[in-house]
Each structure stands twice: as C-alpha cells, then as structure tokens.
C-alpha cells in the first residue's frame, strides 16, 4: 500500500530526515481530511477539490499511490460537476488515509 522508495532516495538514507518527512505528513494529512469532511458536509465542492489537490503531491511523495488516485478522482468529479459521487469517493479516500496513517506510524517506530 505504501512505497517509501522515493523518500529513501530523496533523503539518501538519512533516517532522521525520513522520520521528519513522515512526521510532517502524519500531522498535515488528518488536518486536510478534516477540512475535506467539512467541505463535503457544507457541499463546498470547490474547496473540497482544492484540499484534495493540495494533499495529492504529498501522497505521491509518501508513495501512497491508491490514495493519490482517489484524490485525483475527487478533483475530476468536481471539474465534471459529478457531485453525487463525491461522498463515496471521500469515504474511500478517508479509509485509505486511515490505513496509510497506521502503516506510516509503524514505519516511524521501525526507523
């Protein structure tokens, strides 16, 4: 589910640096998902897409490809005004985020 090879490459094996990047992601991701949940509740589709857009590259750096794909689907759904699919897509993204948080937290302990 998570491929940390990019982080390993970028940090050139510097463990404290890797831990810092993962910790930063673990802090920011729940905040953004909280904002997305609020956007969904308020049917604020534009901000929902903006928040999905803002976390997308970070999921890429953490190697969470499945989550990145769903975030792209959220963005595309908003662009196409396909609002009915957003609740389900958000739920999928939320679950993937929860799972990846567990994996990344475990990785932090291993490092």
């Amino acid at each position: 589910m998570i491929d940390l090879s990019f982080l390993e490459k970028i940090s050139k094996g510097d463990i404290p640096k890797m831990k810092r990047y993962i910790s930063m992601y673990l802090t920011v991701a729940p905040e953004i998902f909280e904002r997305m949940q609020k956007n969904l509740d308020e049917e604020n589709w534009l901000d929902l897409a903006l928040n999905a857009h803002s976390i997308k590259p970070q999921t890429d750096y953490m190697g969470i490809e499945s989550l990145k794909q769903v975030l792209m689907e959220i963005e595309n759904a908003v662009v196409k005004s396909n609002y009915t699919s957003l609740a389900m897509l958000f739920e999928t993204a939320f679950e993937l985020n929860e799972k990846s948080q567990v994996v990344l937290n475990n990785k932090l302990k291993e490092l």
Binding site: Y21, M24, V28, L50, K56, P57, D60, Y61
Partner: protein, 128 residues
Amino acid sequence: MINQYPKVFIVDDEPLLSEMLSDYLLNNQPNLAITSFLTGEECLKKLYENPDVIILDFHLNSKVMDAANGIDILKEIKQKNKTVPVIMLSSQESYTKAVQTIGLGAIHYVIKGKDAFEEIQKIIEVNV
C-alpha cells in the same frame, strides 16, 4: 561574475514540500541560500533581497484562504523585478495553465511529483 551563493526563494503553502525540495537542492548544490515562504505575500516583502530564482506554487491558498494565488503573485513579482527567473510549480497537468504562466513571465511550469525535484534542480543549474 558568478554568484557564489545563489539565493533561492521557495513559495509553497505545504511545508513538507518546501522542506523536501530545499533539502534536495542543498544536497546537490550546497552553496544555495534558500528561503521558504508559506504565502506569496511574505515572498513579495522580501523581494528587495534580489533572489536569483523563485520557485512559486500555483495554488497558495489551501491554508490561508485569503492568500493570493500564484498567478497574482507572479504578476506582482514581474512588475517589481522583470529579470528574476520564476519557476511555476503546480499539481495540475494543464497546458492552458502552463501557457498562461509562461505568458506572464515564468521560465518553466513544473508539475509536482517525483520528478519535479530533479527537474527544478536542473533548471536552477542552467539559470543561476
């Protein structure tokens, strides 16, 4: 005269990206003097320091909702300093947006992703 310590400004509202990019650039070119900003407004206040290159995110208002977006900041930068190279950074693979930013004076439009760091580093090497 070659600048021994080229000044690089990174403007991005996501600290993770700024920090990773900054570390990557310094690993490859340790003489860079890098400053990161969370908003374009903060960067504009420091333009008097004459950066050698500015890396500017397209979307700058995911956290500070009333922050100006990258396009508006690019326009202001170019009004104040026509010669500074600006590299636009975006998650959107949009030809239209790329053309728009180049039209406003950016030297490159780089898509955020795993290849972006290397691409930016090469652009800096060539332009600074």
